[in-house]
Symmetry: D2
């Protein structure tokens, strides 16, 4: 019997409470929209956590019992406490999966795991976005066609200051003239990380079924592997006789 | 309900019939030893195919109903017909997984998929081999410790003339002074390929439980993803209005 | 004193002789246009070779004295003899650089070195192409801005059936809605390979100074390194006492 | 005319002043040993900087006029001020090359650029180390044979907790039974980073001519490319008519 994947969805959860146009699209917050999507996908136990909860909803016991963490943040990256960031980083290196969404590119945790600025270009004028699959055998593309069309989205453009992804899965085309590496897999320590670009808060992107499909696939892909132990420190040599 | 993975194990199957020392270790052939291992692992339907069968046991209908193909060959690579090689290559690009074992590095199918000579160094004096995990979160390392020890194996040494693997999972240490990239993942088309070094025919390597563990893990990892369609050829532009 | 880089530019050279519209753009053939560009860049001795010469202009002594080979072909890939292809492949593995241009994606030599179909989408309706730099520190981007604009080009779209590049340098945006991995570095054996997308024969792309800049940069980048020897075959173990 | 590469060699420079056995091998410090090596290699202007100088010898004007920075540290990583680390990181993202030597794996700057713990195994019993070239066409291998032998070195073993290198160039074999990814290239922002393993302070490793060869090659390889500008922030769309 396979046990359920334990998923925690973290959301800054400020825009939804402060901006009417966002609240109309995500009345219970982006986290609860995604929680419903993942819950219905099957095989997952889903919790949520938000910035303004104690320890941002991510005390050690929550992280220790999380297999995959999703992260959406935008306006308050600086308010996330460094000790929580350090804790999340350690959990990723120990094997927890991490899905970073949209403006989460500028979150402390993503920048710390990447080692780069994670800066990019942007334009808030509702471009047409088309996300092309460039790694068609990758598990994150399960059930997709050759691309995903999103009629209106914020544009993110290159240069995106990240390390070259271990696997590049999706590249976006924007009607205004830009491209962007929109679906990027990284391995850090024993953890799997997926950055997924779409999801501007004033647009109904997380109600798009193919966007949901990618998030479901990525969450499953990022599940920890009960794999090889990592051993560090001072060690002895191979015994003679071997 | 998840359907079974359809696995075909291909073996040259000459050494076992011609060399007593090999027959004693693998009385029914390497393919049947591995078939038993994978069959008992669960979730797989396992068939075998060998060089001296018609079409080497790999007619179109067998390949078309194979999700993952394992390949062991050594002394008769040249006898494998080019049309069968082309068929296997096409199936890999279409999504079939391929596990290439030991001296299969010099098989026509592996060389064709790599585009390089796949040459290497070797020494048949039973070195001690230790395979170190360098990608500890990778699914192929599930259930392993930090390394696998094999008391006696043929040595393969660098330089191994392959493209840089998409993921390097295992690196071997040999008592005689060499190292080797022994567990290498490649993506080609929609297919996943894993090269796994150990398995000299005069040694009981495929009876080693951790070697078996890697082969089981790799077979599962290489399962096709029902992923994004690959569309080629002449196409129209995006409709105006989008 | 640094000696000159010995460059050979190979061109199918049929369109220019058979199609008036092509001849008007490249009256002496694409190869001579590029030869002039590279010759004026400095530090290179440039020769040309074409399909209809004996051995396609690539006998062993020419290849043996070539540091970097450029390749443009389109309509007659099948007429290139297999023994010449094998010779070029061997030279690449031994360290010769190879720059594959535009429709050369379907050449025998590129397909053989890649191990995949190298198929793609295309549309001959003069899209606007914008090539974005995604690896801004790479030597091939020297002297470029953040992108290259080409007012009219044939479209090539994903999926492009190649192995994931060792380094992805340029990604194209097309006005018709597609993206394409247009500047791709591969290492095979000791050789460096660069695929560069633009260059449809009916358009003046190779007169574009920034396209020329990329070809100059790539030719220099692909120069052989007098690097570590590659040793293969049966070897002895490390001497005791070490 | 090519201008000289401006190189700065940073050294913690404590062991050489405090430990007689180290002072005997490097009487003027590791930095001055390496400065002599690079100075004699030609084409470089070499400066040094050490921990106990003001701002660790790395004020803004020094970094701003440095093309490639080498880094050796061990016992006092924590004493390096965070603002200096941040300045070095920014310079790397802007294009400065960085060569991290031996125990520098645990330096703040390397850990920050990698985003991982950079932890590893070690044993201070003078193993025999043999560094095998696995990327024989890479510029860093220029002039090497198929491996480098070091009769006595400290052992570093896997797992080495780093992101998968963009290019893996050297893998070490140790007589005690371990392997290690000893020569690793990374690209971060516009900067090139090379981690090179050997160099324990109580051993004469930096007097080894082939170790010196690698450091010379790596320094040249890491030179900044006057490449594509990186543009970030809010931008307009492509003008209509294009």
């Amino acid at each position: 019997m396979t046990s359920n994947l334990r998923v925690t969805i973290w959301n800054e959860f400020r825009h939804e409470r402060e901006m009417k146009e966002v609240a109309e699209i995500y009345p219970d917050g982006i986290h609860n929209t995604l929680a419903k999507v993942l819950g219905e996908a099957g095989g997952m136990e889903v919790r949520t956590a938000t910035l303004d909860e104690p320890e941002h909803g991510l005390p050690a016991d929550v992280l220790d019992s999380t297999d995959v963490l999703l992260w959406w943040g935008h306006a308050a990256h600086d308010e996330v406490k460094d000790e929580v960031v350090a804790r999340v980083q350690q959990r990723v290196l120990d094997g927890m999966g991490l899905i970073v969404l949209h403006s989460g590119h500028f979150s402390k945790i993503f920048r710390r795991l990447m080692g780069t600025s994670c800066d990019l270009k942007w334009r808030e004028t509702n471009d047409h976005e088309r996300l092309w699959v460039v790694a068609p055998g990758h598990p994150i593309t399960e059930g997709l066609g050759e691309y995903i069309d999103i009629a209106h989205e914020e544009m993110y453009g290159e240069h995106f200051d990240i390390p070259a992804p271990d696997t590049l899965v999706l590249v976006s085309w924007f009607s205004g003239g830009e491209i962007f590496r929109s679906g990027c897999c990284f391995n850090r320590g024993r953890g799997k990380i997926f950055y997924f670009r779409p999801g501007h808060e004033t647009l109904p992107t997380y109600h798009h079924t193919q966007v949901q499909r990618v998030i479901i696939n990525a969450t499953r892909w990022a599940a920890p592997t009960p794999g090889a132990a990592r051993v560090f420190g001072n060690v002895k040599a191979l015994e003679p006789g071997h």
